[in-house]
């Protein structure tokens, strides 16, 4: 962590936070009063301390011994919501557009703000559209299983791709993407 910069300076956009919470509710990871509390406090257009997202993430991490596939599914569910009920359809028409959207970290920059060192980046480093390969490097503070789900969900949402696979098991920050 950068010296002098506090994690409380890091802010996450309300819609992202709400998308995350809503995905947890859709997947029945949280229910009842806990779910109402999660959603009740979030304004879509507000900015929230990143710890708030960590709090919700903590719900999953505490509940599941093997949280990786769950967080991956939460990421996918989040992006389905983003595409079907959020601005997604306006921004991407094809699965590969989601990768383009990450060029220069533009997609990520719209939902997280704060000191550069803490914000990090989520950047499309390489794309071979015809060969169906791409690579995204992520230095964000987000959970990497969640981010894997975000990429899978974002690329699958338009429904034009027959195949999407994302691997980051060698280096969690490097997402190797295959698609067709």
């Amino acid at each position: 962590m950068a010296r002098g910069k506090k994690t409380s300076d890091l802010k996450v956009f309300g819609a992202t936070l709400q998308g995350f919470a809503q995905a947890c509710i859709n997947l029945n990871i949280v229910a009842g009063a806990k779910a109402e509390n999660l959603l009740g406090e979030i304004e879509i257009t507000g900015w929230y301390a990143f710890e708030k997202l960590r709090e919700i993430e903590g719900v999953v991490l505490q509940a599941y011994e093997n949280s990786a596939p769950i967080l991956e599914r939460v990421g996918m569910e989040m992006m389905l919501g983003w595409y079907n009920f959020g601005p997604g359809k306006e921004i991407i028409k094809r699965g590969v557009d989601f990768l383009h959207f990450q060029t220069g970290s533009q997609g990520y920059a719209s939902v997280v703000k704060g000191p550069e060192e803490l914000v990090g980046s989520f950047n499309l480093e390489f794309l071979d559209d015809k060969g169906g390969r791409a690579r995204i490097i992520s230095t964000t503070p987000f959970n990497k299983d969640l981010e894997r789900g975000v990429i899978i969900g974002g690329m699958s949402a338009p429904g034009d791709l027959d195949f999407v696979d994302v691997k980051n098991d060698e280096d969690p920050q490097v997402f190797q993407i295959e698609f067709a």
Binding site: A63, Y64, E65, N66, S67, P69, I70, D162, F163, A180
Partner: protein
């Protein structure tokens, strides 16, 4: 026929029906499904494992809860025995002068209905029937507190008004703090009369052909710092006194109708010549035939002055 047509119709393509491009698309779709299947399997496996852990935790909590419940149940059984032991017995001396029958039932193991027999400092008998707000342990604790207060003050006074005033004054802050109050029907039996204080609860005197219900102008114990009033009624041989809480009159039948004070009083009056035990049994039989279920603690005390 295109690949999409084959997929829609469910028909199996023959040799040469699919182009190289179709086969490539099929391969991609197959890999896509395979990946989806892998991800689904990982998700459901994690979910299933989580369910197993949740069940184990639930089992553990159930065992803990059962243990805790057993402790509470045992404690309540002891508390119930203590509360029962705190209720008075009719002494031989009292039985020689008064014919007494009482029905007392708490809704739960312990409760807030309370009756007691005392002797005042002048040697007169005193009878009290109280209904402490709420049910359960808290009401039972207030009952023990009130009993202790009455035992203290009765050593010094004989007037029901002075006694109840004293109790109200010393208990007011405490009852306010614990958010409790109690109805009070307190009667001192003189040789030829009875003097009473009534703050809630119900009292009926049947004296020959005259029936008198208790004046209820005063408030409950612990509700206000206000002086109580004392009333006097003749109480001679053969006269019948009934004191009771709201457990019976406010009980309802299946139609939601109250049993009512009127019904109980009429029953007592019409059976007033019978022995008090029979009157009590008659009232209880009628009540039990009427009510759909008990919904409050019940106390019904019937006393007749003997010859």
């Amino acid at each position: 026929m295109s690949l999409e047509r084959f997929l829609e119709s469910g028909g199996v393509p023959g040799k040469g029906d699919l182009t190289q491009e179709d086969l490539a698309k099929l391969f991609r779709k197959y890999r896509g499904l395979q990946k989806k299947h892998e991800r689904d399997q990982a998700f459901w496996s994690a979910t299933n494992e989580n369910l197993r852990i949740a069940y184990e935790k639930l089992d553990e909590k159930e065992r803990e809860l059962a243990g805790t419940y057993a402790i509470i149940r045992d404690d309540l059984a002891v508390a119930s025995r203590i509360q029962e032991a705190l209720l008075p017995q009719v002494s031989e001396k009292m039985a020689a002068e008064l014919e007494v029958a009482v029905y007392h039932k708490q809704l739960t193991e312990v409760g807030g209905d309370y009756y007691d027999f005392f002797s005042t400092c002048s040697g007169n008998y005193a009878l009290g029937v109280f209904d402490i707000s709420g049910h359960g342990v808290s009401a039972a604790l207030v009952m023990t507190y009130l009993k202790a207060q009455f035992m203290t003050v009765l050593e010094q006074h004989d007037s029901p008004r002075v006694i109840v005033d004293w109790i109200n004054n010393v208990s007011y802050e405490f009852l306010k703090t614990v958010k409790k109050y109690a109805t009070v029907n307190f009667v001192v039996v003189d040789p030829e009369a009875l003097r009473y204080v009534s703050g809630g609860g119900f009292g009926l005197l049947v004296s020959g052909s005259y029936n008198t219900t208790f004046e209820k102008r005063d408030s409950f114990l612990g509700l206000r710092r206000r002086a109580f009033h004392e009333y006097e009624l003749p109480f001679r041989e053969g006269d019948l006194l009934a004191l009771y809480t709201d457990g019976i009159p406010e009980a309802q039948n299946e139609q939601g109708e109250d049993y009512s004070v009127r019904r109980l009083n009429e029953l007592i009056i019409s059976n007033a010549k019978r022995p008090v035990r029979e009157i009590l049994d008659h009232c209880l039989a009628d009540y039990m035939g009427f009510r759909s279920k008990d919904s409050d603690d019940i106390t019904l005390l019937i006393v007749r002055k003997k010859a």
